[in-house]
């Protein structure tokens, strides 16, 4: 009975059905439920449903029995990172890396923790080490894509996202990143599709669901559209363009047209400043 329940839970976790995995694990007898394997599976299932506190607890309890368990150290680092306890997340992943310093997946997790803390230069060096260990790793590619975006290198982040999706068309990281680019360019409908794809791959993630909901709201509600126009043209380009038009009309002697352009421009500015926070409150 216990073996079957463990196998079922393992299978449920593999296919992303974490709640069913927890149901299977709840059927274990007390002795089996306290084993490291059961704790490991429960930990990953809790992580899958974004209950990071209980995932971290399960990992910590499992590590008391087996302090060297790499997967539990990895799980602990993931969970602590999502709880915002980055010092603890780093300690856990470094303990894992002490045993296997060349493991690309562990190095990528360390880079992710560093990125969350804003230590982007060190994250880049860690990713270089990961790429040396496994040049073809999709994890390395995914982390490099995030790093490029966080550094403000949009072109490189987009290139890496497309490379990632060419390797794995279902890559959540790839879809989410391209969705972020779409939303940053005011293409809300396209972003909603991208985020929707991420939600289909990971329906339990509240983060992806929130992204998808926001993009859908923006695509459907016309009150958002002036703001999307602003976003699509870009902050600098829109302001430079407005100044050129307004002062160009003034220089050409078209004072009335220049005044109309100023009023229209200010109305658009005020709209995109005032309306989005109101819509955000109303739509939630």
């Amino acid at each position: 009975m216990s073996d079957t329940a463990l196998q079922a839970a393992r299978r449920y976790i593999e296919i992303g059905r974490h709640r069913q995995a927890l149901e299977s694990l709840s059927q274990l007898d007390s002795e089996t439920a306290a084993t490291t394997e059961a704790r490991r599976l429960r930990g990953f299932a809790f992580y899958g449903i974004e209950d990071f506190d209980r995932a971290a607890d399960e990992a910590s309890d499992g590590l008391q029995d087996d302090p060297q368990a790499l997967d539990l150290l990895y799980l602990l680092s993931l969970s602590e990172e999502r709880r915002g306890r980055l010092g603890e997340a780093e300690a856990a992943i470094l303990a894992a890396l002490e045993q296997d310093p060349d493991d690309a997946e562990l190095l990528c997790q360390y880079a992710d923790v560093l990125m969350r803390a804003g230590q982007l230069d060190k994250a880049a060096r860690v990713l270089d080490a990961a790429a040396e260990s496994d040049p073809d790793s999709p994890d390395v590619l995914g982390s490099r894509q995030s790093l490029a975006y966080l550094r403000g290198d949009n072109r490189e982040a987009r290139r890496l996202s497309e490379e990632l999706l060419a390797l794995d068309p279902e890559s959540i990281r790839g879809h989410r990143m391209l969705g972020v680019f779409d939303i940053n360019r005011g293409r809300a409908a396209s972003a909603a599709e991208r985020f929707g794809e991420a939600v289909r791959q990971d329906p339990a993630s509240e983060l992806y669901a929130a992204d998808a909901r926001e993009a859908q709201r923006m695509a459907r509600n016309p009150l958002w559209w002036p703001t999307l126009f602003f976003t699509r043209v870009g902050v600098v380009a829109s302001w430079v363009g407005a100044m050129v038009v307004i002062f160009g009309l003034r220089a050409a002697g078209a004072a009335t047209a220049a005044t109309i352009a100023v009023v229209a421009w200010l109305a658009l500015c005020v709209w995109s400043w005032v309306v989005p926070p109101i819509l955000n409150r109303l739509e939630r």
Partner: protein, 149 residues
């Protein structure tokens, strides 16, 4: 740096961000630059940089850029004896915003990319309005003093 150095901990004292501590959207600061000028956008940018936990050096750089833009505005007004003070002030504000934006962009992305919050930003409307009014008063006194001297 060898592998052993790379795997030394550097986050031991890292603080978890309190949930109430939200920054302002960096892109929205362009309005403050337009309506309030360099001093307003410098003040807002420096405060936001602190909320984003940027280094003291970066905060000082944002303030420095704003002061340099304001100094350039005063110099241009005195040197050219122009009547277009409003336009030069807008240009100075937008220039200060450009520098401030580039410095805040990466930390802002780190914050936003990892935020689980439905609304990860505070509204800039109130603080931006106050900054614009205060900065315009200060700028007015400054330019009045310089032009009268």
């Amino acid at each position: 740096m060898d592998r052993d150095d790379l795997l030394q901990p550097t986050l031991a004292g890292h603080q978890t961000r309190p949930p109430v501590d939200k920054p302002w959207r960096v892109g929205s600061q362009v309005y403050v630059a337009f309506f309030g000028g360099a001093l307003a956008v410098g003040a807002i940018g420096a405060l936001n940089a602190r909320t984003l936990r940027m280094s003291a050096r970066a905060v000082a750089a944002i303030a420095g850029i704003a002061l340099a833009a304001e100094a350039a505005l005063v110099t241009a007004v005195v040197a050219t004896d122009t009547d277009e003070i409003r336009i030069i002030s807008i240009v100075a504000g937008l220039a200060a915003f450009g520098g401030s934006y580039l410095l805040q962009r990466s930390p802002d992305r780190v914050y936003h990319f990892h935020s689980d919050d439905d609304e990860p930003y505070e509204s800039l409307f109130g603080p931006g309005l106050i900054a614009c009014i205060c900065a315009r008063i200060i700028e007015g006194i400054l330019l009045f003093g310089v032009l009268e001297a």
